[in-house]
């Protein structure tokens, strides 16, 4: 009887230890679909702390010419995360976290964050990408992400705020609760780019959990194709038929 009591005590102690270990060691589950909440997010600082060259680029922005989204190009990082218009899907595995956006431009913009893999040393032969190169690590309940080597052709917001190839984005993703919206995913961002900003820019982006939301395939090229080409072709053929009938 005494030995059963000891076994029971050991079992309970082990269970409690495992439970507390899992609570401390296991990262939070941030997977799922999330919708941006503009009212809880922060706007871009006004005035923007721009360098002289960045101010000149900003003033020269021509949305008809310089807006990549008009050409079905990606929003790029960090605009995909900060735009406030794109739903977000987080896919979480033990060694990586993927942030998927489908902002109606590409079929998907997938930011791949590899955990515990340091960013590589700078290499002038390596080309920047629209989504950049990201590395992350869990610091307690917060996912800290660093992103570098983002394509300078991308812009940071719809007003034409540009950046250089030296942009570095630091993010801290964590869960929170809101009395109205319930479960939130909060991203505190710091943008550093000596060619663009005279001081780091801090932004907060908040997403509300939306388990029933579904991200859909982008339609950007399709819309242009159908509207501008396909219907045009059909009109051409119809006109040709009419001309032939006369």
């Amino acid at each position: 009887m005494r030995s059963m009591w000891r076994i029971g005590c050991v079992a309970m102690a082990s269970a409690a230890a495992l439970l507390s270990w899992s609570a401390v060691a296991a990262p939070p589950d941030i997977s799922g679909t999330w919708l941006p909440v503009e009212s809880l997010s922060t706007p871009w600082p006004d005035p923007l702390p721009l360098t002289d060259s960045a101010r000149a680029r900003y003033a020269a922005f021509d949305p008809d010419r310089d807006e990549p989204a008009s050409f079905c190009m990606p929003l790029g990082t960090p605009r995909n995360t900060t735009s406030g218009t794109s739903a977000l899907e987080v896919l979480q595995a033990s060694d990586r976290v993927y942030f998927v956006f489908q902002p109606n431009l590409l079929n998907a913009e997938t930011r791949r964050v590899y955990l515990g893999q340091p960013l590589p040393a700078a290499d002038p032969d390596r080309l920047p990408t629209w989504l950049g190169m990201s590395s992350g690590k869990w610091e307690g309940q917060t996912l800290a992400v660093e992103t570098i080597e983002m394509e300078p052709q991308a812009i940071l917001n719809g007003n034409g705020l540009t950046h250089s190839g030296g942009l570095k984005v630091r993010e801290r993703w964590h869960l929170a609760r809101d009395p109205e919206r319930g479960r939130l995913l909060v991203n505190d961002l710091v943008l550093e780019d000596a060619d663009t900003f005279s001081s780091p820019v801090r932004l907060k982006r908040v997403f509300a959990w939306a388990p029933d939301a579904r991200l859909a395939e982008g339609q950007c090229s399709e819309r242009l194709w159908i509207d501008q080409i396909w219907r045009h072709r059909l009109r051409e053929h119809a006109a040709a038929r009419k001309a032939g009938a006369k």
Binding site: S3, I7, C72, L91, N107, A108, T129, W130, W225, I229
Partner: protein
């Protein structure tokens, strides 16, 4: 502590341990990662046995709207993602990635940046799914084989003389993913595809794709409109009519 006591203690503690990805068998660990089509070992696109009315419809379309101008009428050239099973049967060297997360498999194709979400087990209600290029999928494990059923595949862009065979709303694609090895003993992913479309096809179409394990490759960004964007930045007129 004596061994029986330790075992009992661990057994009692197990229900409290962090949940693993119980929806997937161990073989999913072999399947996860980046793969390239093994063009030499894969079947070529099979002949599609069209029903007479489907063939007639196609000829009628061609007579009405032909001749086809490849520069304009090819959806592929206009950056429209080709519908399933096109990315799965592609033998061009575009990689794709399989990611296994709780109750889900996600397929990331580099080509067109297409993405497929495959819930495992009980699929969510998809009655209101809109047709899409990748369709709506659900998956299940039959032993070590991942079986994926796909429906609600978008018809636009397919069935034209420049594209694949016509697609009807009744189209269903079944994929059976399993692990194997090639004759050199290299790890291989196999996908046996069956396309059923009784409105368009006289019989199911079957073929098998084989993929090479490619751990050193990343699924890259597929910037289909890059040329047009570059031409715009350089101030030169586009060769694409709607950009002139």
């Amino acid at each position: 502590m004596k061994r029986p006591a330790l075992l009992l203690a661990l057994a009692a503690a197990l229900p409290f341990a962090p949940a693993l990805h119980a929806a997937h068998p161990a073989v999913s660990g072999e399947m996860a990662g980046v793969w390239l089509p093994d063009s030499k070992r894969s079947d070529r696109a099979p002949r599609v046995p069209l029903r007479p009315e489907a063939a007639e419809s196609r000829e009628k379309w061609l007579a009405e709207y032909g001749p086809v101008d490849q520069r304009i009428d090819d959806t592929n050239a206009s950056c429209i993602a080709e519908p399933m099973p096109w990315p799965a049967r592609l033998i061009a060297q575009y990689p794709f990635e399989l990611l296994f997360t709780t109750d889900r498999v996600t397929v990331f194709y580099e080509v067109f940046g297409s993405l497929r979400r495959i819930p495992i087990g009980t699929p969510r209600n998809t009655f209101d799914s809109l047709p899409s290029a990748m369709g709506t999928s659900s998956g299940r494990w039959e032993g070590d084989t991942l079986v994926v059923e796909t429906h609600t595949i978008r018809r636009d862009g397919a069935g034209k003389p420049t594209g694949d065979a016509p697609i009807s709303n009744a189209r269903r694609i079944t994929e059976r993913f399993s692990m194997g090895k090639d004759e050199a003993g290299n790890k291989q992913l196999r996908n046996e595809l069956t396309i059923v479309d009784p409105v368009v096809l006289t019989a199911p179409v079957k073929f098998t794709m084989r993929y090479k394990w490619s751990p050193d490759i990343f699924v890259g960004e597929y910037l289909c409109q890059q040329d047009i964007w570059d031409q715009n930045l350089q101030g030169s007129p586009s060769t694409v009519p709607w950009r002139k």
